[in-house]
């Protein structure tokens, strides 16, 4: 029999409404979802659990919280794909570019997404990263 375990996705965002909507949407795709709304909470989750994929907001307590979390997750679980979602990319390409061009190598996020992304697009990206 094919083993069909549910994949777990960690979503970190400090906007509780966005977090709730993402959680609902990603659950509907058939994944288990763990959420955190602060950097600290996310850190304590990854201490205990290894998610199959993580979706992080870029700007939380600080403008670089998403990057720092990404770095920490990759250090602990190099094989966990990470999506950085940001509302900043589209309207301020420049600001984002300046910080990422050099940081992107350092950061190693697998994907940068705009927060306005549709759920079906997100699902496709998640599946691609999870190779399912």
């Amino acid at each position: 029999m094919l083993k069909n375990t549910k994949k777990t996705i960690l979503i970190v965002d400090d906007d509780m409404d966005y977090l709730f909507q993402m959680k609902t949407g990603v659950q509907d795709m058939g994944f288990d979802v763990i959420t955190a709304d602060t950097q600290r909470e996310a850190e304590s989750i990854i201490e205990r659990t290894k998610p199959d994929l993580a979706i992080l907001d870029l700007m939380m307590e600080n403008q670089d919280t998403g990057f720092i979390l990404c770095h920490k997750i990759k250090r602990k679980y190099p094989d966990v794909p990470i999506i950085i979602a940001s509302a900043v990319t589209s309207e301020t390409g420049m600001l984002f570019d300046v910080t990422t061009q050099e940081e992107q190598e350092w950061i190693k996020a697998d994907l940068f997404l705009d927060k306005g992304i549709r759920m079906d697009q997100l699902q496709r990206e998640i599946k691609k990263l999870l190779k399912i």
Binding site: D14, M16, Y18, Q21, T24, A87, V88, K115
Partner: protein, 368 residues
């Protein structure tokens, strides 16, 4: 400028850079190079003190003071120049020391014309970008740009949230019963309210920023303004069960713009209520202290940590914690207060204890 005691290197560099120019898509014109020569570190420093240069190619092994000492002087005297070390034998120790002292790059000796040109090209571009950034900073454009990007983030977040909820309703995510959507509707209204506050604050903010707001300085009774403000926030204080007390022992009028004072008072009083505990209290005192009019607003609210106080008056700074996540705020209020108070040379002093409460005290200079 080339600093090297070997004549061959000096003439070599001159020749290599003679017909060399660097272009960059963003640059209006190509950069060409004038080469200055120095045999010793002392001579190099003399030239640097006399005229501004852009790049120094510095040999470390020199007859008098060493290259690394020249670098040291450049740092100490704050000479604005990019230093590239030329070294014949790459020593790690020197490299570390030089980098720590601000050397930008290393060129190994002997170098080919191509290597030198490549290095000069990188530095020129880096220099161009650095000067451009400085120029932008001076013009305040950088600041404004960052401000706008944060603003668009703050405006977009509630729109995204409300849009997401509306889509959930459209898809009837939680079934046909309207009651199932109560919380979603509440949250949407909350986010819209937050956005409205942000827009109102923005309007205050841009008026102050542009300096176009017409000001009318007249003698004002602050007490009256505060009382009016307390009245207008009564619905909020009733909802949070917060008692607001006003003690006016100072009746001297203050020369100020009414609208500006209203913005200041409104921000402080609404914060004191918003960030209070259920059933807490707010004490507002207006008094004369050492001949200065002082307005203080004290609350029994959630308080803040010391490191948060330092950030409080910056644009879009909101203290994020478990306690504040359900309180809507634009992150602009106190930044507006600070800007307005600056117009009066007034100071604001903050004291706070987490879990106990905060107090904000404004002292106006004697302007009567």
């Amino acid at each position: 400028m080339v600093v090297d005691d070997e004549p061959g290197i000096r003439s070599g560099v001159s020749r290599i850079l003679e017909n060399f120019s660097v272009s960059y898509p963003f640059m209006d014109e190509d950069f060409e190079f004038n080469v200055f020569l120095a045999e010793t570190g002392e001579e190099a420093l003399d030239i640097l003190r006399r005229q501004p240069l852009d790049i120094v190619l510095l040999d470390n092994k020199l007859p008098g003071i060493q290259g690394i000492d020249v670098l040291d002087h450049i740092n100490q005297e704050n000479i604005d120049v990019v230093v590239v070390m030329i070294t014949s034998y790459a020593s790690l120790d020197l490299a570390v020391r030089a980098t720590r002292q601000g050397a930008y790059d290393f060129v190994p000796k002997p170098f080919t014309p191509k290597e030198l040109r490549a290095s000069i090209e990188t530095i020129t571009k880096q220099l161009f970008l650095r000067r451009m950034t400085e120029k932008l900073n001076v013009e305040g454009r950088q600041v404004r740009f960052q401000f706008l990007s944060v603003l668009s983030h703050e405006l977009k977040a509630p729109l995204n949230a409300v849009e997401g909820y509306l889509e959930m309703m459209q898809e009837k995510k939680f079934g046909d019963s309207l009651g199932k959507y109560d919380e979603i509707v509440d949250r949407s209204l909350f986010r819209i309210q937050g956005m409205r506050n942000l827009i109102l604050d923005m309007l205050d903010f841009t008026r102050i920023e542009s300096g176009k707001k017409s000001r009318k300085i007249e003698p004002l009774h602050l007490c009256e303004i505060v009382q009016h403000c307390i009245d207008s926030f009564q619905p909020l204080s009733i909802q949070k069960d917060v008692d607001v007390y006003l003690n006016c022992s100072e009746k001297t009028p203050l020369k100020a713009d009414r609208q500006e004072m209203e913005i200041v008072v409104n921000n402080l009083v609404s914060n004191a209520i918003k960030y209070n505990k259920q059933g807490g209290r707010v004490d507002i005192n207006l008094r004369k202290d050492n001949g200065h009019i002082q307005l203080s607003v004290e609350d029994t609210g959630i308080g803040m940590k010391k490191e948060d106080i330092d950030k409080l008056f910056e644009d879009f700074v909101r203290i994020r914690s478990e306690d504040t996540k359900n309180i809507s705020g634009s992150g602009l209020g106190l930044s507006i207060v600070k800007r307005l108070l600056n117009l009066y040379d007034a100071t604001i002093h903050v004291e706070s204890q987490p879990g106990k409460g905060s107090s904000f005290a404004i002292t106006f200079p004697d302007n009567q």
